[in-house]
Symmetry: C2
C-alpha cells in the first residue's frame, strides 16, 4: 500500500505519483461518512472509485477502524482478497467505471463538486435521491468523465477544499434539508 508520507522518495519515479499514495484521504472520508448522523439514519451509500476502474463498495454498517495503520492493513487485505473480511461483507472490490457506479445508484440527480462549477450552496441544488461526486485526490482534476455524468456542477467555496470537508458540507446540508 503506497503512503506518500512514508514512500515519498520511492514514489518519485512512478506514474501519476502526485495523485497516489493517500490512503489517509479515504480514511478521513470514511470516518466521517460512516459515523455521520445521515448514515446512522440509514440513508447514505458510499462507493469509492479508484485507479484502474476499481470500485470499493462500503457497507454502511461498517465501523471504520480509527487507527490509521490498521486501516491501511484492511485496505491491503481488500486489494489482495477482493473483500474485507475475505469474501467481503464490509468492503467489496469490484471492477467498475464511475459511469456504471452512478447509473446503478438510480439517482434523481447527479451533482459534481468541482472548482470549475458554478458557485452555489449544496442545500439549494440537492434533491432527496441524489448522487454527489467528490474528488479524493490531493492535486489536479478528475481523470474520469465525470462532467458527462453530472446533471449539475457546483463549486461550494473559492478555495480548494479537502474531500472530507466537501463531504461534511454535503452530509449536513442534506440532513438539514430532508431530515428535520
Amino acid at each position: 500500500m503506497l503512503d506518500s508520507s512514508i514512500h515519498h522518495s520511492a514514489m518519485k519515479s512512478i506514474n501519476d505519483s502526485g495523485r497516489r499514495g493517500r490512503p489517509d484521504i479515504a480514511h478521513m472520508f470514511l470516518l466521517i461518512a460512516n459515523e455521520s448522523i445521515l448514515n446512522r439514519e440509514g440513508v447514505l451509500d458510499v462507493v469509492i472509485h479508484t485507479r484502474n476502474e476499481y470500485a470499493i463498495k462500503i457497507n454502511p454498517e461498517m465501523r471504520v477502524i480509527k487507527n490509521y495503520n490498521r486501516f491501511k492493513g484492511l485496505m491491503e487485505q481488500l486489494f489482495k482478497e477482493g473483500g474485507v473480511p475475505p469474501g467481503g461483507s464490509l468492503m467489496n472490490l469490484e471492477s467498475k467505471g464511475i459511469g456504471q457506479i452512478v447509473k446503478e445508484m438510480e439517482a434523481e440527480k447527479v451533482i459534481l463538486l468541482s472548482e470549475k462549477g458554478k458557485r452555489k450552496h449544496i442545500a439549494d441544488v440537492i434533491k432527496e435521491n441524489s448522487v454527489c461526486i467528490i474528488g479524493g485526490f490531493p492535486h489536479g482534476d478528475f481523470l474520469s468523465p465525470v462532467e458527462e455524468i453530472a446533471d449539475e456542477i457546483i463549486s461550494i467555496h473559492s478555495s480548494q477544499l479537502p474531500a472530507w470537508i466537501a463531504l461534511m458540507e454535503v452530509i449536513v446540508a442534506y440532513e438539514q434539508k430532508f431530515m428535520k
Copy 2:
C-alpha cells in the same frame, strides 16, 4: 504520548485509562476544524481542554499535518516545550480550567453538547457569537463543571456521536445560519 491502540495493555494499570490515550480524536477534530470553510472565513476559534487543566490554543492559520504519526510527534513537542514550534505560534499550552477558557471567549451564549441535554437542532439554538463545548473523550461523562458554565445543554442525536461528528454538525449549521 499514550496511544491506546498501541499501549493498550500497558495502560490497564493507570488511572482513568478509559479516558486517555486517544490523540486520534484530537487529530480528526483539528483536521475538520482548521480545514473547514468556517475557519477559512476566519470565524472559528478552537481551544482543547485536557487533563490536569491544560488548555491548548490552536492558531486558526495552522495547517494540520495529515499524517497521524507526525501529528503525535507535534503533540509530544507541545507538552515538552509548551508550544509548537517551541516558543509557539501554531499551538500553545497554557494552564487553564474550562471555566476560564470559556470566560475569555466572551461569548453571547455557551452551548454544551451532551447526551443528557434536551434533543434539539444546533441551528435552532446557536447564536452568532457562541461557544460550543464538545466532549473529546471515548467514554463516560464530562469531569469538568461544564453544566454550570452552559446557558443551554442540547443533545443532537439519540446515539453517542464521536467528537468530530458533533463538530461538523456545529460548523455546517453555523455556516448555513450566519454565512449564507
